[in-house]
């Protein structure tokens, strides 16, 4: 149904995709696997018409297609759901679903008809999203659902899903999977990009592995083991993804007592984190664990409760005060909260370190030392490509994350708060992040990880707090932290 041969794409001379063949059958789920920078995004963007290919040819339904634009791709039955949403924040969900494809009789919009179609569509998918809410006010998971619904509204024959489950809860992901099964039954071909091995195994018929812009191979999913797939992807046999972390819990570094935020997203939450241990914060998307981290760092207004760092109570948490008190926070949304993406990696890495003696001489920056100062952290994190002068937006997701994490290595902090440290990054970059956490903890730091990835909680954390609707509902110790036990508390149940 879709067949591309010899696809090559160069951006200003840099080859991002090199002579790749790819095909998609009717009713097939074809997974794309590869590390960040492997060329997955480039390939799906070419197929979706976001930018033109440099060389190669493309046939859709047997007909050759000379070039594609987003409109032309859609007219050829190709719809794409990217990680970066194509939703307009100031319009409502309903308006977004029909954007660019409004139904109108002559000059005027058929609003009632569009509303009914939207209700039917969301109903069909089993997604619950308020139709008249502005997209800006939706959670990431809700936006994801709107984006998927929007792509399906045009009844595509080829559907591209780029990490669709990255921000969905397991229940929502299940709904997506059943919707995919229905589409598959109708003969829709699905290109599925994901880093989650379990999903690829469960959903896909074939897998194509890319590495460094080249195609490594296409295999039937049923005929290959996970380890072999990962080996194809990273180009070397997998050691254990999660490093063994020596945890030696010492004195209490961070203590949060009865914390309630002004907007009610966190209610009466308490937890402690000690030096030399990893504490996990678990819970569904929207359960308040992100807000809890943000409140500790001074980004959410606190209504009541105390935050104690070391032996000092922090009266008015604010980012500068918390940084000065040796607490470092890495936001979940690196694009909008962590990085100045138009500025080079170098400036982003040193952004919160410009007052440190290593870089500041009074009001003057020791700019000549900047490159030297960032080399060690960026090398440790294995930034790829190692190009500190490149603007952050030109790096892949995993490498953007590394630039942000490098900021926390400019000086030793006592407490590190990670909010979704591995969202939307590939296996190789994940391993780099886990190794960083290992080094920090074994060096005696206190690490708090808020994540929706159950394996991370089980393999990294020594203790886990589970949150539900803003409250901490359970604390799980060393011997009770299996995935099942964590899940049993997800919905507030006292198992």
């Amino acid at each position: 149904m879709l067949e591309v041969t010899g696809f090559t794409k160069a951006f200003q001379g840099v080859v991002a995709l090199d002579n790749v063949d790819f095909s998609l059958e009717r009713g097939e789920v074809h997974a794309l696997l590869g590390e960040n920078g492997a060329g997955k995004s480039t390939l799906i963007n070419l197929i979706a018409g976001t930018f033109p290919w440099t060389e190669g040819s493309c046939r859709i339904g047997g007909r050759p297609v000379a070039s594609l634009t987003p409109q032309a791709a859609r007219e050829n039955g190709i719809a794409a759901v990217f990680q970066e949403f194509s939703l307009v924040p100031d319009l409502t969900v309903l308006d977004n679903l029909f954007l660019g494809r409004e139904q109108s009789g002559g000059f005027f919009l058929k609003r009632r008809q569009m509303r009914q179609a939207a209700v039917d569509l969301l109903d069909d998918l089993g997604f619950h999203v308020p139709l008249d809410e502005k997209v800006a006010f939706l959670s990431r998971a809700q936006k994801q659902m709107v984006e998927i619904a929007k792509a399906l509204r045009t009844r595509p024959e080829v559907l591209i899903l780029d990490e669709p489950t990255a921000s969905l809860t397991d229940g929502e992901a299940e709904k997506l999977f059943s919707a995919m099964a229905v589409l598959k039954g109708r003969g829709v071909g699905i290109i599925y990009v994901s880093h989650r091995m379990a999903e690829i195994r469960k959903l896909s018929d074939r897998v194509t592995v890319l590495r460094g812009g080249k195609k490594i191979g296409t295999v039937a999913t049923a005929e290959i083991s996970d380890d072999d797939l990962i080996e194809m992807m990273v180009g070397r046999p997998v050691e254990q993804l999660f490093p063994k972390i020596e945890q030696k819990p010492g004195e209490v570094r961070l203590e949060v007592r009865n914390l309630t935020t002004a907007d009610g997203s966190v209610i009466d939450a308490s937890f402690v984190a000690r030096a030399g241990e990893v504490v996990g914060l678990a819970g569904l998307v929207g359960c308040g664990r992100s807000e809890l981290c943000r409140a500790v760092f001074g980004l959410e207004a606190v209504e009541s409760g105390t935050i104690r760092l070391g032996d000092k109570v922090v009266e008015r948490p604010s980012p500068p005060a918390m940084l000065a008190a040796n607490l470092c926070y890495f936001p979940a949304d690196r694009g909008s909260e962590g990085l100045a993406v138009m500025r080079p990696a170098r400036e982003n890495a040193t952004m919160s370190a410009l007052r440190l003696p290593s870089l500041a001489a009074g009001p003057v920056l020791k700019f000549w030392r900047e490159n030297e100062v960032i080399r060690a952290p960026l090398t440790e994190l294995a930034l790829r490509p190692m190009a500190p002068e490149r603007r952050v937006s030109a790096f892949s997701g995993g490498n953007q994350q590394k630039v942000m994490l490098a900021r926390g290595l400019m000086k030793p902090f006592d407490v590190y708060l990670f909010d979704e440290p591995t969202v939307g990054i590939d296996v190789g970059a994940k391993a780099d992040v886990y190794n960083l956490i290992k080094r920090l903890v074994e060096g005696g730091a206190c690490v708090v990880v808020s994540t929706s990835e159950l394996p991370e909680l089980v393999n990294l954390a020594s203790r886990i707090y589970v949150m539900h609707e803003g409250r901490v509902v359970a604390e799980l110790g060393e011997n009770e932290r299996s995935e099942q036990q964590i899940l049993s508390h997800y919905f507030g149940g006292k198992a």
Partner: protein, 341 residues
Amino acid sequence: MNSTAASTAGTERTPHRVGLLDRFLMQGGIVITFLVIAVVATALIEPRFLNRLNLINMMRNFSFLLIPSLAQMLVMTAGGFDLSVGAVVAIASVVTATVMLVGSGYFPDAGVLLILLSLAAVVGVGVLVGSVNAWLVASFSLSPFMVTLAMMSVLVGIALYFTQGIPIYGVTDTFVSGVGRGQLLGLPVVLWVALAVLAGCIVLQRFTALGRHIYAVGSDERSARLSGVRTGRTLMAAYVLAGVLAALTGFLMTSRLGAGHATIGTTLALETIAAAVIGGVSLRGGVGRAEHVALAALFLAVVANAMNLVQVDSKYQTLVLGAVLIVALAIERLLLRRRQA
């Protein structure tokens, strides 16, 4: 899942609760409050405010502010700025008067024909300026702020060079008596025109795909393009409409003044942005409604009228306008911030 479950899906799980007061503040309540305060205060301090002649005069001035403010709103909601509105008003005024002056040599007694001719010429000017603005902004990805600032300079230069700064007389009498001073059902003709433009803008924003595309492009151009919106065309439509509305303002002002002036409209760039922003138009695009902009323009017109009535020196009037703008925006922001907390 059945369809009843789906119809409730639209109302449940709204992530933030919207109270009555909040809804009022969001739906232009702040502007309405400003307006009511301004009207009541003016009426109390200076009873002549309610005089019929004064009200008609104020309505005319309101019309001359409303039409270019709606032009500004269209461009701003599309994510741009149009600093050239005032300059278009000036050049349209010059064109109107020139067409009438020259035309009356050929058709001495055809007042209506001359009016239509000059209107056509003026609309042409608006389309031309708007499309050049949009072309520069869309094709070269230039900053709308700089493009329209440069355009303003160019247009003012042309108008001044052409007229040497001297007003062009010879405007048809029918034009002045029928349009500029004319009344229909007891209200100024220009007010009717402005209200028609307002109604058109409301329909455009609420009920047409173009209106929705303008919001989409202004809110997030990349997303709009990926959704299949022809962003270049949408920008073109917004700037051309704005150019035409600004030109129409110049045409109407000429009918009021009885002559073509190259020097009118110099403060309109600030005033229209003020009206748009007080009316809730976002400086970053994507947000703003015509009816709220109309209320804000009326508010500014009342303030200006009040200052004239109590004989504030014109030198101080711009000072007051700036202060009112800052205070109004600060209050609006404070109220909205409290809502979000």
